[in-house]
Amino acid sequence: MKHTLRQIFRSPNFVVGFSIFSLIILTVIIYPIFVPNPPLQIIAQGTFFEPGIYVNTYDSFNAPSYTLKLDGADSKRIASKLNDEDRLAMQEWLVGFGIPENEIDIHDTEALLNLWNTNFDPTKRFPGMTNADRNYFIRLNNSVQGLLSTDPAIIAVTDEETGSLVETDRVQQTDYINVSQVANVRILPLGTDNFGRDVLTELIAATRVSLLIGFVAGIVATLIGLILGLVSGYLGGLVDDVIMFITNLFTVIPSFVLLILISFSIGQDQRGAFTIAVVIGFTSWVWTARAVRSQVISLRNRDHVNLSKLSGHSIVYIIVNDILPYIASYVVMAFILQISSGILAEAGLSILGLGPRTTEVPTLGLMMNWAMIYQAHILGKWWAYFPVIVTIALIAFSMNLMNTGMDQVFNPTLRD
């Protein structure tokens, strides 16, 4: 046993797979300790906030202010509101309304804005100008208002008695705050999803659930497959025929279709993560059963089994002691594959809307499902779905690597 383990850990495939998998498990365990936010809490009002550091604006006014005189602050400010495309568009509008092109210097911000402010009229339309264009120019006009102003911004509060505004503070353009001195800062490394949930926290919780689903599904599938395979292979005869008939039935019906039918028929109110895991397990034992059976058939005529019989051992003893150890490595490999296929099956089901109930736990599939429903892929909100894909891929990949590694150790024909 020790020897086998050592061999397994010498396989580079296994080691890489195992490292990735351990890393995932560790993250899943450790992250919630440090970031105990509830994964399903809706924190953002609005969809798909970009990844980044969110600093509370209100608190930032109250944070100590520092003056930093940095070069190019103005131009950065202007560039953020008025890029080259916008300047060209302004030029286009101005030319469209009769300003000679040579009078417009789009790089001279002040002159351009002067020209713009004196000429722009939101009601005017030139041929070929669409409503979308018109809206764009209106938005552009709004965004450049006061762009060149050097005045400080005024912070005022409402006087409760008179209802008038009372100036409390002025924010200079050179004022800076230190983020660490702001009371409320939330880092959203992967932004938020369509519900306004923190994607990273949700992802990690979902990974945990998906792994659990995978494990439960794997255990269920492997147990059913193992027991049926052992019984059918060792006893043979009528028992074998009956079990193989059932197994063939399950083989002929694609298991994913079966899975969909079962999940559909048990109704969503019954579909907890555990139930889904059991259902997945229940539909995916077939190959384990068949493989175990064929292994057992080849084992049951081996001399050591005959010898064990001659030593007067009972069927159960023989199955447990003389058959099971020989297929154990195989079963472990099948188990690993079942786990990863269980995770994928859950993801597939959830994407079809047949996954576990949504209000209790996040799962990887559900996250994908909602990201797709809210068209994150069309809108380019990659953080809502891409990390999920990567996670699923990493889990499946690491499991397959481990399996390949073990296969190289256990399967003599693959040895090099």
Partner: protein
């Protein structure tokens, strides 16, 4: 002196296992086979005889690695050449190798004639399939195989027929030297006899010039080859003509081997079989002294220390033992009397 077809000088090869351990399977083996002669290699399983056969081809692929020595076929040195070159110009043409259980390696979905086409087309570009068929048919007829076999699938043939077909295919390109590793051991006695008959015919009819035959079945070897070489733990321990080797072995190991021969002949029941206790050494760490020392009845302290060179015993016989030939023979005679 007849033309030397195959000459091997101090050939050493090793396996490298998955755990990067070296197994020194062939240790400085030298062989000379003259034209028209056949050599048998005998030994316990794991003594390196199959590895030697593989090494003789000069074509090495992992986990087998070449360590040193020369292989000269018909005057051409093939060791140290580019493996691809060896595969294209040497294998099949100069030297042919029939591995153990070769007959079970035939792709069951292809007809026999297709294997033949593959072999010929690999080496000759401008032949038609019809020509190939004619050639194959002629060859099969000469070798006493029914030509219908050509159009059959491997599964349709009996084991003996399959093995004979494999041998026929391997001599298609008329190699000088044929190396056969246990070509008849999985067959029933009658098929075995037919295979042997065909191999002898190959020699007699000049399809091949020399043959190396590897088996652990001594009675068979005795009846097939001119000379027998006994291997033990990757080394040659004794070599001589087959009659001498069977009836008058020098080395204690050969003696043990020959004493275990069982044949259905009158008087067999009265013979006491000899036994060699113990197991061969681990070739990952071969002993520095005599490799047989651990199992040898006549072992002396110095056996375990110094490595033993091959000694000449006249008439081309060699043996690897510290104890002189005469002393060994005396020992054997004394034991004979004890019984």
């Amino acid at each position: 002196m007849a033309n030397v077809m195959l000459e091997v000088n101090e050939l050493s090869t090793k396996y490298i296992t998955r755990f990067q351990e070296d197994v020194y399977a062939v240790d400085k083996v030298s062989i000379k086979v003259e034209e028209g002669k056949s050599l048998g290699i005998a030994g316990e399983s794991g003594c390196g005889k199959s590895t030697l056969a593989l090494s003789l081809m000069g074509y090495y692929f992992p986990p087998l690695h070449y360590m040193g020595g020369d292989i000269i076929i018909n005057g051409n040195k093939i060791s140290g050449l580019d493996p691809d070159h060896v595969r294209k110009t040497v294998l099949g043409k100069e030297i042919a190798y029939i591995p153990q259980a070769a007959m079970n390696a035939l792709n069951p979905t292809r007809k026999i004639i297709h294997f033949i086409e593959d072999v010929i087309l690999e080496h000759e570009m401008y032949v038609t399939k019809k020509d190939i068929y004619e050639r194959a048919k002629k060859l099969f007829e000469t070798l006493g195989l029914p030509p219908e076999v050509l159009q059959k699938y491997p599964v349709e043939l009996s084991g003996g027929m399959k093995q004979r077909t494999v041998i026929a295919i391997s001599v298609l390109l008329l190699p000088k030297v044929l190396i056969a590793d246990e070509p008849s051991s999985a067959l029933d006695v009658t098929s075995q006899k037919m295979v042997i008959k065909m191999m002898k015919h190959l020699m007699d009819a000049g399809f091949i010039s020399s043959m190396i035959f590897i088996t652990h079945e001594l009675p068979l070897l005795y009846n097939v080859v001119d000379d027998i070489m006994v291997m033990y733990a990757g080394q040659i321990v004794e070599k001589g003509s087959s009659h001498e080797m069977v009836f008058d072995p020098i080395h204690p190991y050969s003696k043990g081997l020959m004493g275990s021969i069982i044949v259905p002949e009158e008087g067999l029941r009265d013979v006491k079989l000899t036994a060699i206790p113990g197991v061969p050494p681990n070739l990952k760490k071969p002993p520095s002294g005599c490799r047989f020392a651990e199992r040898c009845k006549y072992v002396r302290p110095e056996c375990r220390v110094t490595s033993v060179p091959l000694r000449e015993a006249g008439d081309g016989r060699v043996y690897r033992c510290i104890i002189p030939e005469t002393e060994l023979r005396e020992n054997y005679a004394r034991e004979e009397q004890k019984k």
